[in-house]
Symmetry: C2
Subunit: 206 residues, 2 copies
Amino acid sequence: ISSVPTIRRLPSYLHIIEAAQKEGKDFISGTVIAEELELEPIQVRKDLAITGISGKPRIGFPVAELLDAITKFLDWHHTHRAILVGAGNLGTALAGYAEFNRHGMSILAAFDSDSRKQGTRINGVEVFPLEKIGEKVKELEIELAVLTVPSPYAQETTEVLLAAGIKAIWNFTNIKLKVPKGIIVQKEDLSSGYAVLSVKIARNRN
Amino acid sequence: ISSVPTIRRLPSYLHIIEAAQKEGKDFISGTVIAEELELEPIQVRKDLAITGISGKPRIGFPVAELLDAITKFLDWHHTHRAILVGAGNLGTALAGYAEFNRHGMSILAAFDSDSRKQGTRINGVEVFPLEKIGEKVKELEIELAVLTVPSPYAQETTEVLLAAGIKAIWNFTNIKLKVPKGIIVQKEDLSSGYAVLSVKIARNRN
Ligand SMILES: NC(=O)c1ccc[n+]([C@@H]2O[C@H](COP(=O)([O-])OP(=O)(O)OC[C@H]3O[C@@H](n4cnc5c(N)ncnc54)[C@H](O)[C@@H]3O)[C@@H](O)[C@H]2O)c1
Ligand SMILES: NC(=O)c1ccc[n+]([C@@H]2O[C@H](COP(=O)([O-])OP(=O)(O)OC[C@H]3O[C@@H](n4cnc5c(N)ncnc54)[C@H](O)[C@@H]3O)[C@@H](O)[C@H]2O)c1
């Protein structure tokens, strides 16, 4: 997979270029993007090169073409149909995060073992009992599951998801999931962001 | 700031080395860490070099020393005293995330404009009205604020935090915050993780 750090930066470039498009700009320079995000201009140019679009000296990158190329590179022109398992605080916040919808991730159903949550909606997404996962994954042609259950239930919930035919899991629990070859697991841990913040605070102190 | 991608990987190294320590191991090899995280061994060795601890060929890195060096590098041997503003779904999930406590981030108070939330607790953290921010930041010697309000309120809430003497803001909103020089702002956007996941899904499809 090409550089993960580059891919992680692309959504913030997208924000800035979309804003430039709304202002009616036809071109945008790598330096303008770099200043907005406090990055080095060389870093931005290297990152944007990955999309195949090149900028012209003194004019910059064509806005519409660049937006299209980044969106295609991220596969965000396809809708990724998702379910969410664990309709708690984190799950509810993710179901309500408008950016995901804008970038093509559609959370179409949620699941929770707590009978009090079943039949309710979290930010508009209906919550079903776990027994319905197999049926809903087929009916809604789901490819991705967002896992926000408490860590002790991570592996057993994953077995249910695999049996239902899920091919990719976005894992917010602390458990390293055991999955067969070919299944995509992406771990997400906000401790990574906190690590960067802590180092910045320490540098500032000294 | 040294390489952000390296710093982001350190918490997951910490997990693995802590597990090795619990199993009574005195040394751990970069290759074992790399296999567990599906990274290149050379990447892990380059990252660990940042902590000043070097491994010995065929023996590996000394577990206790490495843990200490990574923790010190991340400034996680200091407690970072924090408040949280916006006691909604995301704020509540962050207040309840045990990893933060383990890594020295202590959320000591929360604030919310909704009077129904004031006086309640979110995962054990008391929720106060916004008017109390100044008083609590002084009383509790707070250095960091976690911002999880709806985006339209991001800048005005930031003004209140700056007036209270906050020096660092972990920003979960979509707004680029205008702050004076010297104030640390760290933006967090889960769209970055979703970007990496989308690219993995697209590569798998082709
Ligand atoms: N990766 C991160 O950065 C990060 C940040 C915050 C929280 N978390 C993790 O996310 C998870 C959820 O956190 P939260 O704050 O939303 O907790 P929560 O308690 O609010 O939500 C958990 C939900 O899962 C449900 N549940 C329990 N067992 C289940 C099962 N077997 N199958 C389906 N649903 C089940 C519960 O009924 C509850 O609704 C936890 O594992 C937490 O550690 C991760
Ligand atoms: N960065 C990310 O990856 C990410 C992911 C999910 C949500 N979010 C963002 O986090 C924020 C919170 O999301 P949520 O799901 O918890 O929403 P939520 O509606 O559950 O919580 C928002 C809370 O803020 C409170 N609030 C409103 N105005 C306020 C003000 N002026 N001062 C103090 N508190 C105020 C509300 O009363 C509510 O309790 C939103 O901006 C959302 O876009 C970011």
